[in-house]
């Protein structure tokens, strides 16, 4: 947990511009800053960048699993304990040429909850995970993606109650479905996006032909979703190469 030592703080407010989610609040009565613990994501930017020259910002031991999870997802320097991957702890498309996680005829769904920069309460991540599970997305297991460790059941996507009020800088809801289910999944996301109090950035992972093309995105036009112009291209240089 990140706190501001009130004895050290002189109320200069410089630290406020370094907070990624505006969780540093100035109290005009005692002329000190404090960290709103409900908003703070434990990203540790204020600590790593040493923004207080009086050393008033201090880390306190993250004393439960959820706080550790919150920090692990919000601070990219950390490796996730199970997947071993830094950042939000998933390899997604980056190693798909070797892992074969998303195969021909499938669509990988990577929903960056809280991104860009808004943060996400896990209650909203739960809503989105449940919405896509309901229309046939097979959510990734805890072996591959961190959020699954907080699910009651990866078949439903529902997160356990104790975690719902934790605020993370970002976390990925990750799964896959058959290409012919993509339209249903996107429709479900168009519905659930109206029910959450934050944003998400959506990525679709697909195997492509030798020219870098796929026909699976044709359904976007039917849903009035603009065709993507930015992507992350796995160049197929990993070995052993997955041909699936």
């Amino acid at each position: 947990m990140t706190v501001i030592n009130e004895k050290q703080c002189n109320g200069c407010k410089i630290c406020q511009i370094y907070c990624t989610v505006d969780a540093i609040i100035y109290n005009s009565e005692d002329k000190k800053c404090y960290v709103d613990q409900d908003l703070c994501t434990e990203c540790y930017v204020c600590l790593r960048q040493k923004v207080c020259n009086r050393g008033a910002i201090e880390p306190i031991e993250l004393d439960n699993f959820y706080k550790q999870f919150q920090h692990g997802m919000s601070d990219p320097v950390e490796n996730h304990g199970v997947t071993g991957v830094t950042g939000r702890g998933t390899e997604e498309v980056k190693t798909n040429d070797v892992s074969g996680r998303v195969k021909k005829g499938e669509v990988g769904i990577a929903i960056d909850m809280g991104r860009p920069g808004m943060g996400v309460y896990l209650r909203d991540a739960s809503k989105v995970a449940m919405a896509i599970a309901k229309v046939g997305v097979e959510l990734q297991s805890a072996e591959h993606t961190p959020l699954a460790a907080l699910m009651k059941d990866v078949k439903t996507g529902e997160l356990i109650e104790d975690c719902l009020n934790y605020h993370l800088l970002s976390v990925i809801v990750e799964g896959k479905c058959a290409e012919n289910k993509l339209k249903d999944v996107l429709g479900a996301l168009q519905e659930v996006e109206k029910q959450i109090d934050t944003v998400f950035s959506l990525g679709l992972i697909l195997r492509v032909d030798e020219f870098g093309q796929t026909k699976a995105l044709a359904c976007l036009d039917e849903l009035s979703i603009p065709q993507p112009y930015w992507g992350k291209v796995n160049m197929g240089l990993g070995r052993p190469l997955s041909l699936d």
Binding site: P76, T95, V98, G108, R115, P116, L202, G203, T214
Partner: protein, 207 residues
Amino acid sequence: MTHSLHRSGNIESQKKDFVWFMYQTQGVNDKNIKPSALEFIAAAEECGSENWGDVKTGPITKYSVEEIKDKITDKSRLRGVFTRKEQVVEFLEIVKSKDTGMSVVISGVLSEVIPTCKDAGVTPHSINYSLGIWGKKDNLPDDVTLSVTTMCGHHMIPPKFVNHIRNQVEKGRLSAEEGAIKLANFCYCGIFNQVRCSDIIKENIKS
């Protein structure tokens, strides 16, 4: 993590923004990665990668190349940026010839990246397509700020700090290039494109 996938801003500006990755697969080729990592760093330097780094140490805008190399472990992740398509082609040609077995990913505007595959003689395997931002967008920062903050996909760059830097440049206390370096130092991975950032600042300050 998909931290290079959702960069935003003016399309012409984005065409000067390419992110490269070397990636090891857990349980397959994730042991003793340092020799491969050094090959990637050599290729990146040969092609003039404007920024690169290892999330476990930080970017070259803040740390020396030697320090980053010394600290490489099997938990490291090597990434960086290019600003020109020609650099990407050359980089792909080199890493293909080294045949390290590591996965290689390039993020960017697809109409720019896809042709580099053919030019470099590589066959794309999979693509993670960005479908943009969904949900409650009312509280997002303005588009210019987002075009800067999204260059650190982990969002280590606070929007208020971007405004602070723009103010400093407007007041003549920093050059746009100096301001861009200060922002780049927040992105531990080294995928922040400080060249593009400097251009964005110059285009959007009140003169």
